[in-house]
């Protein structure tokens, strides 16, 4: 594993495998993501994309294989440790704190990164923390409803809050699981703009169904099918790939 230490990849998986009963959801996946890249993962429903990222963030434990982050083996690390060393995640199904305000929702990750142990017993008013919360809310465009309870927000705004929580963690690697799902067209455009902006100084791994979003955004694309990677390359390479057309894009894609 000495070699892995010198690998330039920020994220590297080796033979990563996860089975659910008789189904192999992720099947021996070798995946490398260099620092600074914006990578999209695509594939048909049930291809194992979400399972794959759940293994990376630690929500699921792999059956076989290893995960390296910044050269360190994190395969057996619990999720909160992975979060602390710089892996941020947004859920496919919105997962915010429903009965906290928008402001408090973002306070939770900001506190996690700025407060020291004893400060948790102190006062909540902390200029450093509050300035950070405001700047994150401004970034995602939620500065207008900071006092609203999270579960009272419209779906699109809850998606933005989900994104805000992950951004506030200032992760080295940001994993976005279908961030634009169920958003209005306008919100999708805004979110794409936001992701592009964040990606200037971050490594991003994005799972996305919307091929237009993917082709617009990603530098490189990895295609999953039946738990394996079937193709990887730039958007034009992927569009030409016969395997990908057969299993995912479909015949009509050619005609576009």
């Amino acid at each position: 594993m000495i070699l892995q230490k010198h690998s330039p990849a920020l994220l590297h998986t080796l033979g990563l495998t996860k089975k659910f009963g008789g189904l192999t959801a992720v099947d021996g996946v070798e995946f490398k993501l260099p620092e600074g890249e914006l990578r999209a993962v695509v594939g048909p429903n049930g291809a194992g994309k979400t399972t794959f990222v759940n293994l990376i963030v630690g929500l699921l434990r792999s059956d076989r294989g290893q995960i390296f982050f910044a050269g360190n083996d994190i395969t057996s690390k619990p999720p909160h440790v992975r979060s602390r060393i710089g892996i941020g995640y947004t859920f496919q199904l919105t997962s915010v704190f429903p009965r906290l305000s928008v402001f408090e929702n973002v306070r939770i990750p900001v506190q996690s990164r700025t407060l020291r142990m004893f400060e948790y017993f102190g006062s909540v008013s902390n200029d450093r923390v509050e300035a950070k919360i405001k700047s994150v809310l401004h970034q995602v465009g939620l500065e207008g409803c900071t006092a609203a309870q999270a579960d009272s927000l419209a779906h699109g705004d809850q998606r933005k809050l989900e994104l805000a929580i992950a951004i506030a963690l200032e992760p080295r690697l940001l994993i976005l699981d279908e961030p634009t799902q169920g958003m209005s067209e306008r919100d999708v455009k805004e979110t794409i703009g936001l992701i592009r902006m964040i990606s200037r100084n971050k490594t991003i791994l994005i799972i996305e169904h919307n091929m237009d979003v993917v082709l617009d955004l990603a530098e490189r694309i990895t295609v999953f099918d039946k738990g394996r990677i079937i193709a990887e390359g730039t958007s034009s390479e992927i569009e030409q790939d016969q395997n990908v057309i057969d299993s995912y894009l479909g015949a009509e894609w050619r005609g576009r």
């Binding site: 979060s83 915010v96 939770i108 990750p109």
Partner: protein, 281 residues
């Protein structure tokens, strides 16, 4: 109040709170009887004892959640209840122990705190202090994290919080305050006995919190006052008062699931919201 920190905010439903109440009570009684400690030392020993005890129990109980957490706290509680009954030579068994409370010495002052007036004020002072500490805790950064964990544990984990440690902390704080309440009881009634460690008392605490409103600071106090007064009144009218207690609980869950304080709070908030709407339009 202590219970509400654990249940209302962190979302842990425990049926063992009488255990910590009892631990505080017995710790206080033992310090007086066996250590012959003065009151300051007895209180200190109670606080340390309750904290250590709830940490140990917490380490066992927080590994599981939901209904399993409930069952584990219940089992541990019953075990200690049985233990208190089984060793009468140490604990006084089911008769309990009558305590002789020494005067509270504060430099040259010596205060007879068994005097009803003094005792009454002392309890109020301690209740107020506990209220301030817990209210402060709930609004602190820690309190917000505890609420967040109660609402969405997985999310909190992925934000980088070691959820188990926070649960344990909530458990310990809550157990320590319950222990303090237990020592107050022993002090006021000059008595320590196993009845208050029974499962019924734990259930009562849960009921009071529910009626008053979980996840509100005032809820447990309001709930306790309302329920104790109601039970006193109803039980003087009929011996079947438990039926009415059940009825109250059903009505509260059906019509005011957020409890008395929670419902009032919602009403107030919705009226102020509609005012805002009018102001905006």
């Amino acid at each position: 109040m202590a219970y509400n920190l654990l249940f209302g905010y962190t979302g842990l439903l425990s049926l063992g709170h009488a255990l910590f109440f009892g631990a505080g009570m017995y710790c206080f009684a033992f310090s007086l009887i066996y250590v012959q400690a003065d009151l300051w030392i007895a209180f200190t020993l109670t606080l340390i004892g309750a904290a250590v005890f709830s940490t140990i129990i917490g380490l066992i109980a927080i590994r599981v959640r939901g209904v399993y957490f409930l069952i584990i706290t219940l089992i541990i509680s019953m075990t200690f209840y049985a233990a208190a009954l089984s060793y009468p030579e140490v604990s006084g068994g089911s008769d309990g122990m009558i305590l002789r409370i020494p005067n509270l010495n504060f430099f040259s002052f010596s205060l007879n705190i068994t005097d009803p007036t003094v005792n009454y004020f002392l309890v109020w002072v301690l209740l107020t202090i506990s209220y301030i500490i817990i209210a402060r805790l709930i609004t602190s950064p820690l309190g917000i994290v505890l609420r967040a964990i109660g609402q969405n544990e997985q999310r909190a984990r992925l934000i980088g919080y070691n959820v188990e440690n926070y649960r344990l902390l909530a458990f310990t704080i809550s157990g320590t305050f319950s222990g303090l309440a237990g020592s107050m009881y022993a002090l006021s009634f000059r008595f320590a006995g196993p009845q208050l460690m029974s499962v019924t008392s734990s259930v009562n605490v849960l009921l009071w919190t529910l009626v008053g409103g979980s996840a509100t600071i005032l809820g447990p106090i309001v709930g306790t006052v309302v329920m104790v007064l109601a039970m006193d009144y109803i039980s003087s009218e009929t011996s079947a008062f438990l039926i009415f207690v059940g009825l109250i609980l059903i009505l509260v869950t059906k019509f005011a699931p957020k409890g008395i304080v929670g419902t009032i709070k919602d009403r107030l908030m919705s009226t102020s919201d509609s005012h805002n709407d009018i102001a905006e339009t």
